[in-house]
Symmetry: C3
Subunit: 348 residues, 3 copies
């Protein structure tokens, strides 16, 4: 993979300043770049590297001010960060597309595979599974009976989809993720034991959903646990039975969502956040890391923080008040002393 400065400028719809024939073979951070690298300045604080970087080509914003002497050919673009994400795709590495069913995969005779499918060795495709075109199932995955996977979706190694799981098109499911495990439902008995409540529902995942590594999404007791299209879920996230996550909601690592909670669309949830069960969360809500949410939120587009969560600005105030408690103690003592003197005086 290599590009000339001229080719890059054309692909990024940018303006070239310098030698159009310079060739780059890789993408690098500005402080690590060499002559064969293309790099970029999206954040002004990296502008200081302009005069020292060895990068063959630098992608910068159209209004970037290049002062002093520098070595790199510049390509000026509308938005350097967007161009950088395009470059990431152009230079994507050895993670290339493969197809075919490897000889040590197990595919049930009753499963249906689309065109150009890849099934890696030691993956298990059970009865009545339907797999769309261009789907890639890496080694050591289990796809349970009756599950369906939409076109162009990729399931990375060591994933488990329990029976009757529905996954949309263009999804990425990273390694170790488990979809469709039983919800955590037990009926307390009089003798102190708990009886398992069968979990008869399933999990439905829309198109363009990304799920990180080692996350878990439980099947519904009845009906479906639903992840709507465009949702992005990070690593080690726990989504309990009968939860529903609205379109384009983003959930960072190690967050947990308890049973039957419904989170509406376009929410942004930080890491290690916890939601209790049976809540409704309005669209566009945002939550700081480690928040704990124990009440439904009906007003959309607000920011929340803390455990139990309050509105974000209030949480900052509470944190400050809290840190000020030793000072409050001193002021209280002073008041008490002063008042005691006054009262003593009065009683004299």
């Amino acid at each position: 993979m290599q590009f000339t400065a001229k080719e890059l400028a054309e692909r990024l719809d940018g303006l070239l300043e310098g030698n159009p024939d310079v060739v780059v073979r890789k993408l690098a951070k500005i402080e690590e770049a060499d002559e064969e690298s293309v790099s970029f300045i999206a954040n002004p604080k990296y502008a200081v590297y302009l005069n020292t970087t060895k990068a063959g080509i630098l992608i910068v914003s159209k209004d970037f001010e290049a002062s002093g002497t520098y070595h790199s050919v510049l390509v000026r673009v509308e938005d350097a960060y967007t161009s950088f994400t395009k470059l990431l795709n152009m230079f994507s590495g050895s993670d290339s597309k493969v197809s075919g069913v490897e000889p040590m995969a197990f595919v049930s005779q009753k499963a249906k595979l689309g065109k150009d499918v890849f099934i890696g060795n030691f993956s298990y495709i059970a009865d009545d599974v339907e797999i769309g075109d261009n789907v890639q199932i890496y080694p050591n995955c289990f796809i349970g009976k009756g599950s369906k996977i939409g076109d162009n979706t990729r399931v990375f190694p060591n994933c488990t989809l329990y029976h009757d799981t529905i996954v949309g098109a263009h999804c990425h499911i990273h390694s170790g993720t488990v979809i469709g495990s039983d919800g955590f439902g037990f009926a307390p008995q009089k003798d102190g034991t708990f009886q398992k409540i069968n979990q008869n529902g399933n999990v439905i995942i829309g198109d363009h959903v990304d799920i990180g590594a080692n996350s878990t999404i439980d099947r519904a007791t009845m009906g479906s646990t639903v992840i709507h299209k465009g949702v992005k879920i990070d690593n080690l996230v726990h989504i309990a039975h009968n939860v529903e996550i609205g379109e384009n909601t983003v959930i960072a690592g190690q967050t947990g969502i308890s049973g039957s909670t419904k989170i509406d669309k376009q929410c942004v949830i930080g890491g290690q956040v916890g939601f209790v069960g049976h809540l409704y969360i309005a669209p566009g809500s945002q939550f700081g890391a480690q928040s704990g949410i124990n009440k439904s939120i009906k007003t959309p587009n607000k920011k929340w923080n803390g455990s139990p969560a309050v509105e974000y600005m209030d949480s900052l105030r509470l944190i400050n008040h809290n840190r000020n408690l030793p000072e409050v103690e001193k002021r209280l003592r002073l008041l008490e002393d002063q008042l005691k003197s006054l009262l003593a005086l009065k009683n004299d």
Copy 2:
């Protein structure tokens, strides 16, 4: 699978009101039910659906007041929720029992298998493993040397049991769960490095234990990490070396229990709770979500909350006091101003 209203009433020991010949083929939520569905009203807030649901049959409590016109045949039972959990079992889906050793499974010649065992493809049963009757080991599991699994236990895909793990009868171990990994033990050295301390013990799990997906239970340094019978553990829970969990204790998702802590029986632990090491927790203790427990608890049957945890009612008071801190600040200022005036007056 289908049932007439008469059959359902008999099975649930209920009283039939309406056409005994109505046939249902599935179980559904009341708001999603159609003519071929049986549904139920356990929570009074769902009673509003009585007059609009299309459900062929409705399970209700014996004293439910059915007013207005409605379409469904009613079956009156002692407790609608208990009947619902029975229906979940009656209508359980395609997750049916399988048996036999699939051809691409690996079973050591030195392993002993019980009757009617299922071992899925790509599962690895090491030397000296003993597997009881009716055990189901789904694909892609690893059962380490010398491990024992009791009758009727199910191990779902992609689980790992390290060597010498003992699992009781009637357990469910969900996908991705790891049992018997090394405890986190390292001896600090003078040069700043840490030397691994061998973890020679094992994990022992009693009968009727359920463990969710992607949880981890570490083997003991010496002796055993013990999960007693009837314990229910959710997803992504971390149980460290030499921990002991008492009978019928319930642990929700993403909770972590540090080394050598002993939690007694019948405790209820919320999600994302953390226990430091070497604690003792009395039977019947309950913990709110996100609690942090750093002291042993000797009095049984109390509720705890917060981080560090205090008694539940105290934690609610502290939360309220905390939220009231801006008000405290105002009152303090007013007092200071008033006192200042008084003192100024006095000094006049």
Copy 3:
């Protein structure tokens, strides 16, 4: 495996008191030991067991005072705990070394294997992988294209290493751990959707690194996520893209570290701790369990606690002040009442 008292004393460089020919076959806790056990007293609170234990041999510190009658042969050592960790190695169980490529493993023709390597059944070694001498890859692992694993490293069952992952020598990677999954990077679009940003970097792990079960370490967007030598990581830990962890830092279970944060060497991080992204943490920093860190730390060797974290001693003060809030409320009311009386008096 068995040792005489004489042999043990020699191996531990200890002083023997009693019959040198006593034979032990196992290591046990003092309260569970029998005649064939060696046990130890490292913590004074276990000294009470001296007169009742059945242990054949007891390891004690050189200055241990043995009063009353007792049954065991004593071996006096410099440090009983260090000797105990040596004993753990001497008595390590059935987790013995194996070698060879099992017949149902898949090893690409383009992969290079060192000497005395073990590759378990159902493990997948992709193209261009390089595996050092004495490496053990247990069953059901996936080692992606171009990855390298150093000498003597052990990868336990059901692990996933994505393409281009570099792992050093003498590492332990426990089951279910995922290394090299895509970082959580998405570019927000004007229509509310998020576009995936390709993650072209990789993960580099130094020598003598231990990683627990079901942890996840994401590949870098560009460049590398780096875990330096001697780092110890517990179970269910989340390490995001472009994070760097310095030498000998220890990270307890369920902690999460957000993107691009750099933690320097010799830090000690408790369980369930969260770091936001793009921080720098100075060497030797220590963090209490459940801390939340949202600011860089530039002064080394300090202890931190709480969420948001403050210095450890301050956090203890704040916790006390917080618990004292009901008392503050009472004192405020008393002051208000007293002042009200005073003011009333004055106005009379």
